[in-house]
Each structure stands twice: as C-alpha cells, then as structure tokens.
C-alpha cells in the first residue's frame, strides 16, 4: 500500500455555520434505506392503499358508469371523512408503517452505537438536537410519503374528479384532519422508533422490539378485553390508541368506548419517555458517574 500518493494541501474554502446542519444525516439516512431491497418492496407496498383509495374516489364520481360492476358495494365508495379515516387509520396502513419503521429506523441510532460513530458526529459542530433532527427526519420523510402526501392528494383528487368545491364546502376541516392525524402518527412512530433504536447496539434486536411491542400490545389488549370485557384495556394497545385518535381527528365514532384524551395521554406519555431516554442516550461519550 502506498501512502502520500498526493501531498496534503490546505483547503481554501470557509467552514460555515449551516441553517440545517443535520441535513446530511437525513440525506444519507434516506439514501441508505433506499438501498435495501426489502425496504423498497414495503415502501411501494405501503403506497398501494393510496392507489386503491384513489380508484375508489374516481369510481364514486362515476357511479353510473360502474354501477354494473360494483352493484350493492357502492356504499363503500361513499366519500366522506370516514373514507379518509379508513385510509389513514386502517390496520393495513399501520402495519406497513411499522414495517417501514423497522426497516428504516431500527439502525438509525443503534448502528451509531455499535460502530462507535456517534463520537464522530459530536466531534463536529453538531448539537444533540441537530443529531436527533437528522435521524428523526429520515423516519418523518418516509412516513409522510405514505400518510400525509397521499392523504392530501386523495382530497385534492376528490375535488378534481368532482369538478367543484362542494366536498370542500361540506368538510372544510378535513385537510386539517389529514394533516393533524398524519403528524400525530408520524410523530409517535418517530419517537417510538428512535427510542427503541437507542436501547440496543443490535439493530436486528431493535427491529424485533419495534414489531413485537406494536403487535403484542394489541394481543394483550385483545386477551384482557376477551376476559374482562372492559374497553379501557384498549389503552394497552398502540394500534387501538392510534385508531381512537383517528376517530377523533375525522369526527367519527370511536372504535372503543374510551375517551380519545386517554389515548392521547398514552401516546404522549410514550413520546415523553422516549424523549427522556434519547436525551440520556445521545451523547459523544458514555459517562458512568
């Protein structure tokens, strides 16, 4: 191996304080996630529901043309806030969000811990919160692409296919509901994913935790609900809490007879705990006092 194939030269540029110093972290996080075949597969899979719901909106505007094909099922293509709730808070989409989260988020912090690269980040002019923003933005980017973006596109396409603003006049708050619920789901999953990623140096173990906690919390709820018939056990389930909040945002009847405030408290509590743990775990060096 040869060294000094070229001499060292000083760089004549100027090191500047950037407005978004965390941007390279996000950009590389997105790039690395897209390199994984499995991630690409599930990412496009997560976009499938939006295609199906878009067809539903189109059919709803051309009911007469499709009457012979859809027959009695036309009630399913009644476009209202429940339709958007069914899209954003469906078991299917939430499942895909969890899979995307474990594929793009499990290694975000755990790999830095495993390969000691966290000290390289903090030897740069990077604050703790900027490192966090860089990592969280990777998850936010992907989750918005499969929740917020298609949600708003579906709303706009409804207006385009209808050719008027009657739908908007009937539900002027609906875009805000789409934005609000997408933010809630994305914020929760971002904290949830990074929290678990900071707990272990093994990203596979983190992936199992992300998947396991989400599903086992729901199974535990179903077991307790089956035994005690008490709706408050729904608060144990991440999925049930997210669906309770979905019903609130889209002004629908809640799936469980529990106030949405409790669900919000549970989800917020998890986020606060995650924030607290992340604050402790994200540091340039391990300090045991």
């Amino acid at each position: 191996m040869f060294i000094k194939e070229k001499g060292y030269a000083h760089w004549d540029g100027e090191l500047k304080k950037k407005k978004f110093p965390w941007m390279p972290i996000t950009r590389y996080g997105i790039k690395l996630a897209f390199r994984k075949k499995s991630f690409r597969f599930f990412f496009y899979g997560a976009l499938a529901p939006s295609g199906i719901f878009l067809i539903g909106i189109y059919v709803s505007e051309r009911l007469e043309d499709f009457r012979s094909m859809i027959g009695e099922t036309s009630r399913f293509v009644n476009i209202n806030p429940a339709y958007f709730r069914n899209f954003l808070a469906s078991d299917f989409l939430l499942f895909f969000l969890v899979i995307l989260l474990l594929l793009c988020g499990a290694g975000l912090i755990s790999d830095d811990l495993k390969y000691n690269s966290i000290q390289l980040y903090f030897s740069r002019p990077l604050k703790k919160r900027e490192y966090f923003f860089g990592k969280v933005s990777v998850i936010v980017f992907f989750l918005f692409l499969v929740t917020l973006v298609p949600g708003l596109i579906l709303f706009i396409m409804k207006l385009v296919f209808a050719g008027d603003l009657k739908f908007f006049a009937s539900y002027p708050w609906l875009p805000l509901s789409i934005i609000g619920y997408s933010f809630l789901v994305t914020a929760f999953f971002s904290f949830y994913g990074l929290f678990l990623s900071s707990l272990s140096k093994n990203s596979r173990y983190v992936a199992v935790l992300i998947f396991g906690i989400y599903f086992f919390s729901h199974i535990i709820f179903q077991i307790f609900d089956g035994i005690f018939k008490n709706p408050y056990f729904s608060l144990l389930s991440i999925r049930a809490n997210l669906q309770q909040m979905g019903a609130f945002f889209f002004n629908q009847k809640a799936p469980h007879a529990v106030s949405w405030i409790y669900s919000l408290l549970v989800l917020s509590g998890i986020c606060v705990l995650a924030g607290f743990v992340l604050k402790k775990k994200i540091r340039g060096v391990e300090v045991v006092k």
């Binding site: 090191l15 500047k16 390279p24 590389y28 690395l32 390969y115 000691n116 390289l120 990077l126 060096v285």
Partner: protein, 303 residues
C-alpha cells in the same frame, strides 16, 4: 497559545479524573502521556466539549471550552481510538459526509474527500464498503475524516494502537508530515513512548489526574540524573545495593546491562570505587542519554 486550561477538575462520581490541571501549550506537535487512568482521555473529551469540567476554564484556538464548543469543533479534527464507521458507506461518502457536517459545502466536501483519501493511502480503495476494510485501513480512514475539513488542530487518540509495525510507521510518517510541514497543530495521546518521541517537540505527562510534567521534550529529558550503562563480571547484588544506598537508581535490562542513574552530586568515579569495594570487574562503561522513557518513569514515579 492554542490550548490553554486552568485549574481543570472533573470527576466520575467519587473518582477524580482530573484534579487541577493547568496547561499552556505552544504550537507544534504535543504529546499527551500518562499511565492508564491518568486522565488523558478525559482531558481530550473536555477539550472537545464531550464533557463539561466540574471546575476550571480553558480556551482552544481562542474559543472558550465551556461556551463555544461548536466553534471549537468546527476548527478541530478528532481521530478517536476506537474503530468507528458507518455501515453501508464507502470511504468517499464517509469522509465527505463528515466534511459536510463540519460545515463544508457538499461538492467541496466530496472533492476534498478524494484528495485526503489519496493522501492517507486509501485512494485505490475509496469506493470499497467500509465493512471490508482492514484494521490499518480503518485507522487511515479515521485520520482522513479528521483532516477532511482542514482543521487547525487535530486530536489524535492512540493513532498507532493495534497496527502492525509497517502500518504504524506509515501512520507516523503521515502525522509527522501533517504536523511539521502543514502548519497544523497536533495533540497526540499515546502510551507508545517511541511514537511520541518521534513526533512531538513538547510533552505533557499526566498522572492520577494531575499534571506530572510539561515542557519541551529536550529540556525535560535533561532530568536530574546522569545515566551510565555498564556490564559487570561477578556477583552484582552487593554492588547494586551499595549504589542504591548512594541514592542512585539502577535498572537491569534483559541483556544484562545495568543502567545506573547517578544523582547530580555524584560522579562516575564513585561507581568504580563501589565496584572495587565489592570486588566487581566493570567490563563495559558508557555514558548514555536519558530517554522519554526515563522522563516518564520519573514523572509518574515508577522504575
């Protein structure tokens, strides 16, 4: 002065890692020495802003170590001791990534990454995945990311540990080149004394969290002993004991050479006098130079 600290204190719980350290370091290559647990890594971590001192103050490149950590890190490079990389990246992406995080524009960082990778000898393998790199290559990569943004000061933490002799020689050449010809100040922490001796003109020795010695290497090496190396024939036990009684330090090497450190008030004739008393023949006698090892041993109080 580019590094200046006053009365620096830091504790890990009840364990005092730094206890009133004062430093005033000049330009050039500076060696940071000390036995395990002396506080070298803690000092580096405080200088980089990873840890906040319990007490004391300091300035690096004229920035305050407590309140201007971001500015310090912008102009400082750091090569950690541990292997560190990002899985899935190649060397160019890795190096330019950290250049960008230091504040370089994206394209400039990419261009510069190629240059420094050629400089450290990773030019041919710069597109290889980092997971396939050998220990020596990872060491060079760490050096590349430390210099990509052309820092004014570089902290090197054990840069030659876990390297084979050839790899160690090459890394040392690079460090000497950077520190001597490129106007970049270097603070190197190492327990390999010959490395420090080869690179540094100034040394700081820490022991049990306290400053044991600091100063120009040449001046410090003129310690208050005269060193003689001798070989003797006969039973040397009594000879050694008598010399020790006369306040001399004796060290016997594996190849049978006795290193005698005479106090300044004694002269070599005393050695011959003791040898005559003990009926010992001196077969070899040379005046030797004290080394960094001697200085280190004296500073930390071990033979």
């Amino acid at each position: 002065m580019s590094i200046e600290v006053k009365d620096l204190h830091f504790s890990y719980g009840k364990l005092k890692a730094l206890d009133g350290v004062d430093l005033d370091l000049p330009q050039g290559a500076i060696g940071l020495l000390g036995p395990n647990g002396a506080g070298k890594s803690t000092l580096l971590r405080i200088l980089l802003g990873f840890l906040v001192p319990d007490k004391g103050e300091g300035r690096i490149l004229d920035y305050d170590i407590k309140h201007e950590q971001s500015s310090i890190r912008r102009f400082v490079g750091y090569m950690p001791e541990d292997d560190c990389f990002i899985p899935g990246m190649d060397a160019v992406s890795f190096t330019s990534y950290f250049g960008e995080l230091s504040g370089m524009p994206r394209q400039e960082a990419m261009k510069r990454a190629h240059e420094v990778l050629f400089y450290v000898g990773l030019g041919e393998s710069r597109y290889r995945n980092l997971e396939t790199y050998s220990g020596g290559m990872k060491q060079r990569l760490k050096l590349a990311q430390a210099i990509v943004h052309d820092p004014k000061l570089i902290f090197l933490d054990e840069p030659t540990s876990s390297l084979d002799p050839q790899g160690r020689k090459e890394i040392l050449e690079l460090i000497i080149d950077i520190s001597s010809k490129k106007d970049i100040q270097i603070l190197i922490s190492s327990h390999i004394l010959p490395d420090i001796e080869a690179i540094c003109s100034y040394v700081v020795i820490l022991n049990k969290g306290k400053l044991a010695a600091q100063g120009d290497m040449d001046r410090l090496k003129q310690i208050d002993y005269k060193l003689y190396e001798l070989r003797v024939k006969g039973e040397s036990e009594g000879f050694v004991k008598k010399l020790r009684d006369k306040k001399s330090r004796i060290k016997e090497t594996k190849d049978g050479v006795l290193k005698v450190y005479l106090p300044p008030d004694k002269n070599p004739q005393d050695i011959f006098a003791v040898a005559a008393e003990e009926n010992i023949q001196i077969r070899h006698f040379v005046k030797s130079r004290t080394s960094l090892e001697d200085l280190f041993a004296k500073a930390v109080g071990v033979d």
